[in-house]
């Protein structure tokens, strides 16, 4: 290597050192430690005791709360992510029409996503109260509203409702992507006699699939890690009906000091996220449309 190239390499490692050090100290080291801890029984005060795969076996075979939390997390992800996407798409499509005051509507729809999650959870604690405004509204139509957060059947839909309130984030992304669709495609379709509905399904949707896919994957990963809402609104209750993976792992680690067990849960969570991400990427080959792939 020439002197100049060596000097350049040296500067690269110097410039990149914050990330490299951070990677080793805050990621690689902790990951290895986490595998180690997950194989022990440890409360952080006394010496860790080696238990092998017991923590994993316990979670998967003996702990009913683990399975309940896993199921609740699936439920939340499976309902909230597609619902958020469909609503986002529908709103973006509405806004994309030559509508007056579009900027105002766009802002109003986006506003809820600017509210920090903690504040959102506080707000929904009031909105979803048994005598709160949502039930008042339902009462106007003669529907007796459930006591959302206290009812094991309604607590998950309540969390989904809260997530849908933030559908505006997806709307803005999708709207931006819609603007990027070449107008010629619509003109050509019009010449061929395609109506608005047909145009939506045959042009808008296929052109948007990359961004829909991006939202889907990010949404799934985010939904599997849901924490603040659950922790603030219900603490997993009633009767673990809203317990999800991260609050469960948080409680095990920081309330009960089961650090080994909590670490094992974190790896099981990682495994679940990985499987879902891989499935999404596999399926993407069938339905995600990339311009560059057209031969």
């Amino acid at each position: 290597m020439s002197r100049l190239r060596r000097r350049e390499a040296l500067w690269f490692y110097l410039f990149a050192s914050p990330w490299i050090i951070g990677f080793v100290v805050f990621l690689l080291g902790p990951m290895i430690a986490s595998i180690g801890i997950s194989l022990t029984d440890w409360d952080s005060f006394t010496a860790p005791k080696w238990v092998g795969l017991d923590n994993y076996v316990q979670a998967l075979t003996e702990d009913p709360v683990f399975w309940k939390a896993l199921w609740n997390t699936f439920y939340y992800a499976a309902v909230s992510v597609p619902l958020g996407l469909v609503i986002g798409l529908w709103l973006a499509n509405l806004l994309n029409k030559g509508i007056r005051l579009r900027k105002l509507f766009r802002t109003l729809i986006y506003l809820p996503t600017l509210v920090p999650l903690v504040a959102t959870a506080m707000i929904f604690k009031m909105v979803l109260a048994p005598s709160g405004p949502l039930n008042d509204l339902l009462g106007v139509f003669g529907i007796p509203g459930p006591s959302w957060l206290l009812d094991s059947i309604w607590v998950k839909p309540a969390l989904v409702l809260l997530s849908v309130w933030g559908a505006g984030a997806a709307t803005v992304l999708l709207l931006a992507a819609m603007k990027g669709i070449p107008r010629e495609l619509y003109e050509a379709a019009e010449v061929d006699g395609a109506g608005p509905v047909r145009q939506f399904w045959s042009i808008t949707i296929p052109q948007l699939t990359p961004i829909i896919f991006f939202n889907l994957v990010m949404g799934l990963i985010g939904a599997f890690q849901v924490f603040s809402q659950v922790y603030i609104l219900t603490k997993g209750g009633p009767d673990n009906a809203s317990q999800t993976m991260v609050p469960l792992l948080f409680d095990e680690a920081f309330s009960f000091y089961h650090l080994g067990y909590a670490s094992a849960i974190s790896w099981l969570l990682f495994a679940v996220i990985l499987v879902f991400t891989l499935v999404a990427f596999r399926s993407a080959r069938r339905w995600v449309f990339y311009e560059t792939e057209v031969k």
Binding site: R5, R7, A9, F12, F15, A16, P18, W19, G22, V25, F26, L27, G29, P30, M31, A33, S34, L91, L94, K97, G98, I99, R100, F105, I109, P112, V115, P116, V118, A119, M122, I123, F124, M126, P133, W165, A176, K179, R183, Y186, E187, P196, P210, F214, I221, Q225, S228, Y231, I232, V246, A253, F254, L259, A262, S263, S266, W267, L269, F270, I273
Partner: protein
């Protein structure tokens, strides 16, 4: 206004309306839907304002209304004078967020530039690791990191919430790298001919050009730390160290039995938590669009 000379912004607006008209026509039905949806989405926000303006009697009787009926504006000053440490919470939020933003902006620029421009053996392998780390959920490292910070004696200080930011993160490195990659490399070459070293090129040439992407990174970091709940929940026990996001929740969860939390003051806290985000979005949106992440997201295929 109507006679103003068309600026690029208005020209762009004209073009985009032209484009969106075309095949699709707006109908009264679309307007009705949009009005209803916007109203439904904004009702909770109106409700927050209404609670924030309520008297203590209303709080105790739990007789809130969605549309404000009473206007106790003094609640907004009360949160700073009662025994609620709202002032302290706010200051803590500012300290933690400012530290985190400074850390990410300083480190991400350097690292991203290195990955985009400097040649070194092992660079590509490292970049693959950068991308791969984006997939690892934070929960995996949460417990060992807590133990690490506990050993360092950093629990119940701001440090665990600030220091890791000085080591950048994969997403920001990726953003900066994408941004730099699209700048012509002749700029660096010319600077080098003029005798600037690598740090000089970064400091004098690159840094000014990176400002849109660094501002965007600052906005992302600010949004994430300002509203962060789990981090402070893990690391801070003292009320006097808590940021607003944790403090506001803390007030509701620790109010005495048989006594309703001071919802009016809590909602003032929530408004204080939200206003900076609205301001940041309002001031920052042009940088977010200027940054043009669309080119960056092409790599997410």
């Amino acid at each position: 206004m109507a006679t103003a000379i068309p600026t690029t912004a208005t020209a762009r607006r004209v073009r985009s309306t032209e484009r969106s008209v075309g095949a699709k026509r707006s109908t009264p039905f679309s307007y009705a839907t949009l009005i209803i949806v916007s109203a439904v989405l904004c009702v909770p926000l109106v409700f927050v304002v209404s609670i924030a303006l309520s008297s203590d009697q209303t709080v105790n009787a739990n007789t809130f209304t969605i549309i404000p009926r009473e206007f106790h504006w003094e609640n907004f000053t009360r949160v700073f004078s009662t025994d609620l440490p709202m002032q302290r919470f706010l200051l803590n939020s500012v300290i933690i967020s400012a530290g985190a933003v400074a850390g990410q902006v300083l480190s991400s620029g350097l690292v991203g530039y290195a990955f985009a421009r400097l040649r070194a053996p092992g660079k590509n392998a490292l970049f693959i690791i950068v991308i791969a780390t984006m997939m690892i959920p934070a929960q995996i490292t949460m417990i060992p990191q807590f133990i690490l910070f506990k050993e360092l004696g950093w629990v119940n200080t701001y440090l665990p919430l600030i220091v890791p930011n000085f080591f950048s993160n994969a997403f920001n490195v990726f953003l900066v790298r994408q941004f730099v990659s699209r700048l012509p490399s002749e700029i660096d070459e010319a600077a080098m001919v003029d005798g600037l070293g690598f740090f000089g090129i970064y400091r004098r040439i690159m840094l000014p050009m990176l400002s849109p992407v660094l501002i965007a990174i600052g906005i992302f970091t600010l949004t994430a730390t300002w509203g962060d709940f789990m981090g402070p929940l893990i690391y801070l026990n003292d009320e006097s160290k808590m940021p607003l996001a944790l403090g506001v929740q803390y007030i509701t969860s620790t109010s005495q039995a048989l006594q309703a939390p001071p919802w009016n003051l809590v909602m003032v806290g929530s408004i204080l938590l939200t206003l900076p985000m609205i301001l940041v979005y309002y001031l920052g949106q042009r940088y977010l669009y200027e940054m043009d992440i669309s080119g960056g997201s092409a790599g997410v295929k």
